[in-house]
Subunit: 242 residues, 2 copies
DNA sequence: CCTAAGGACTGATGTCGATCAGCCCAGCAT
DNA sequence: ATGCTGGGCTGATCGACATCAGTCCTTAGG
């Protein structure tokens, strides 16, 4: 029997992966490595030979400005690629920090490109996955550009919840969330102080409570409405490349 | 002789395209169509069977919020895909508006997927191109999240200049730019009023002048420094998939 | 010829969120 | 037991940018 990793689940949503593809995919999983929370595994500007697939834990990718400010671009949860773009572009345009201790499997650039050459359907599947990730970055951009702090926070917590539900780590009641308020601030383009106030505001409005590493949706429907959250772009469609 | 379109030039930067790939690419170019400025060619929520490759003119992709605000995610210039993500994800999560009258060639979803299956290297090349585009959206996100209005504007104008230079439509002196101040506002997450003030400020500082559809870099080096612009992520690397 | 409309531009006023300057608590190390 | 550190939390002040309310100019249309 072929293994059923988070990645296989993710890609399988787009193309019905056949045995040859699955075995190529399995052959990619090389060394298993672990990293401790807080110590970057990739630095901006570094040129990389390997990408990783996140097996457990949370990470975030971010960019640093010269004045020391940082913008978190995305959080990665199990099943996500780390540093795929770095490999394709030959150099990392961002840094990656584990939010918690994490486990990853290493994928060598050469192996990945070879795998694409051998199994075009796999390349298409990865392209699709990358598109979904990009759609999320775009949504993030819209939030930072055009939503006020509270809407932005609400939207962010909902999206994260959707992604987690998606890999079995959450539901409409809530989810475990190891992020600090500083992480939220850097992701949402706010100050940590203001993040705190906004969280209080949402809590007092009876919509979400984020406390002790747990996000609880107190009134899911109201929150969706408040955030103008459109769940459709996160819908899982069945495979359409047979 | 195989044709040399902007797209071929773009993809050729990553993989050395061979004759079979080039002919598959050529076979993608189906109907040629034109659209007039201002009338959307793709609507948010619409499900699409076709993507386009922009042959001439400028377009922009944007998302609309319920309250009527809009965020422009990216501008497309000749050689760029329009709506590639819509095709891959089966539904468009954004709208596309031609900024000027444009010419495009249509690419049918089915043809594209078939082309990927036949020529894996082409799929890899498109994945690479998509990664570069995503890197740009990420940079955009950083700007909107963490830079003040003037830096944001400066950075944006430089990046656009880089992309245009890249397809032969500009250089370090400046470039023709059909955008209105409203476009800039919607792209940068500012009000049109403030865009105007910021442009004045940059002009009076002797860095850039944007006037009458033309962006002139008055002091390129100073502007780069001011914007903390890192040109490296736009560097053209030679092909590395032989 | 006159009007309408879009785009650039400006001053006055208002507000959202940053910044500054702190307190409190839990866990951990000396 | 006593600091120290990281994270959560809070009030006061300040500033960047939005909003409002216009003017001016050019082009297009009746």
């Amino acid at each position: 029997m072929i293994e059923n990793t988070p990645l296989v689940r993710k890609l399988g949503a787009f193309v019905a992966l056949l045995d040859p593809e699955l075995s190529v995919l399995a052959s990619l999983h090389k060394r298993r490595r672990t990293f401790v929370a807080g110590r970057d595994l990739v630095h901006q500007g570094q040129s990389d030979q390997a990408a990783y697939i996140l097996a457990s834990g949370w990470a975030c990718s971010y960019k640093l400005l010269e004045d020391g400010q940082r913008q978190i671009v995305d959080f990665q949860i199990p099943g996500d690629f780390l540093g795929l773009r770095s490999v394709l572009l030959h150099v990392s345009d961002h840094s990656i920090e584990p939010v918690t201790d994490i486990e990853v499997t290493e994928v060598l650039a050469a192996d990945l490109l070879k795998a694409f050459a051998q199994t075009p359907r796999l390349a298409t599947a990865v392209l699709w996955a990358a598109s979904r990730d990009e759609a999320m970055v775009v949504e993030h951009l819209v939030g930072v550009g055009r939503r006020d702090a509270a809407e932005r926070m609400a939207h962010f917590l909902l999206e994260l919840g959707g992604r987690l539900a998606w890999v079995g780590l959450g539901n409409t009641d809530g989810y475990a969330c190891p992020l600090t308020q500083y992480h939220l601030a850097d992701a949402l383009g706010l100050s940590a102080v203001h993040v705190n106030r906004v969280l209080r505001q949402l809590r007092e409005a009876g919509m979400v409570t984020f406390r002790d590493g747990f996000v609880a949706f107190d009134d899911y429907d109201q929150l969706i409405k408040f955030a103008q959250f459109d769940p459709s772009y996160m819908d899982q469609k069945g495979p359409f490349l047979p």
